[in-house]
Symmetry: C2
Amino acid sequence: MVAKLGRFAALAESDKTMLAALEKDEREYRKDEVIVQCGETVKELFVVKSGWLASYSLLDDGRRQLLRLFYPGDIVDLSEIALLRCRHDIKCLTAAVLCPFPKSGLEPLFTHSPRLTALLFSMTVRENSTLLDRIRAIGRFSAYERVCYLLLEMALRLHAIDGLQADGAFRLPLTQSDIADLLGLTNVYVSKTMSRIEADGLIARDGNRVKILKPQAMAELCNFNGDPTIDSSWFPVH
Amino acid sequence: MVAKLGRFAALAESDKTMLAALEKDEREYRKDEVIVQCGETVKELFVVKSGWLASYSLLDDGRRQLLRLFYPGDIVDLSEIALLRCRHDIKCLTAAVLCPFPKSGLEPLFTHSPRLTALLFSMTVRENSTLLDRIRAIGRFSAYERVCYLLLEMALRLHAIDGLQADGAFRLPLTQSDIADLLGLTNVYVSKTMSRIEADGLIARDGNRVKILKPQAMAELCNFNGDPTIDSSWFPVH
DNA sequence: CGAATGCTTGAAGCTTATCAAAGCTGGTGG
DNA sequence: CCACCAGCTTTGATAAGCTTCAAGCATTCG
């Protein structure tokens, strides 16, 4: 996590120490294991060491909407610190290693490091921004555009944490049902859409590996702007 | 704004003073006036004194997605403080009075009041939570459910700032095209859907006034949970 | 009063969902 | 090491929900 945050702003040694304290315990989780259940009172947060997680919401009739994906280096779920009760389920999409820490573990950080506080605030805003992008995608994009969009976003996100393979391809640990629930589609139509995207020569697939062949064309197709740039100029110095 | 934030946690006098400083200037804006344009470097933020605003994203071919609504007491756009360039347009849905202040106006607040910082952080998380709810609505709800959802959310939001009329009705300053762009629908279908909702006896309409007749039934219909509860127990004391 | 804007209603069409069945793949136990 | 099985993906046929297009009506404003 120090590595991830350090990309956005220089950190003092004391800041690094505080962050490292959050990662001192490790716990392993199996694929599909549920980490947090909707309605629970949240006492613990987690730093993701490895693996993918997702938060999601279930409706009475079985409909499901995936809300967020958590990658290595993320905090699950930083937002929950401010809420009394958790509003969504969170589970492992792959086997994962998490570093649990009590909610109060962030307290010293808020009281002693304005700079680190600003940084966490910025991370929350950034996440916010990706949610807005997805609202736009689900609300106004065709299925074809939505899938392109998701693939680009994942590639970008993985690139940032060195999760891409040498040739730029990446393993897609989501099932097509997961992708459908993330984008407001059905698994059947995701399958048909991905086949079309592949037939059009925009991507190549091999098992669950995906390689984006024409990132430029795909980005134009779905108005993909990449990540917002964090402005650290206003951060308190210490 | 002091009133709005004070609802979530007790504020020290010094905190109130800092907040009040943000609201010392006032400027009037006309309906449809654009406050912030996509791509601009953000130097100024605003406290909404009166009126409604919305941020939105335009696609090349004219499609539009409304992203957020801003009500009196909100900061437009708190998120932008952390971003170098603005990613969306923001405009007035009604005539409005805003209090502009420079981005740097928040700096003393971050450096001198951990408690206020935590509160702003919480507000951001809370907004985050409503975005997740809307992702769920757009991704998995039918048009009928989406419109019910939006009306409930607005009523709740207005209730919190005493914006409801005596009989519980409220003026809806959005056009049906706005509602459509907020929910990922078309203006035509919003019209048909609202007529159905009214025919079903869930709401009553008179011009642009709306009254929710059966809030309970509507809430069950669309799994409406109300607002998340903010946990202020972890806030630094001063 | 005329023009502009927004709302309503109907008909036709398209994207996506639903249902169903068959093919593929990776993991497990014999 | 192979066969089996469960879960995932693919493909096709049909259906539903929403969009698009178009015209008429209502309201507001200069």
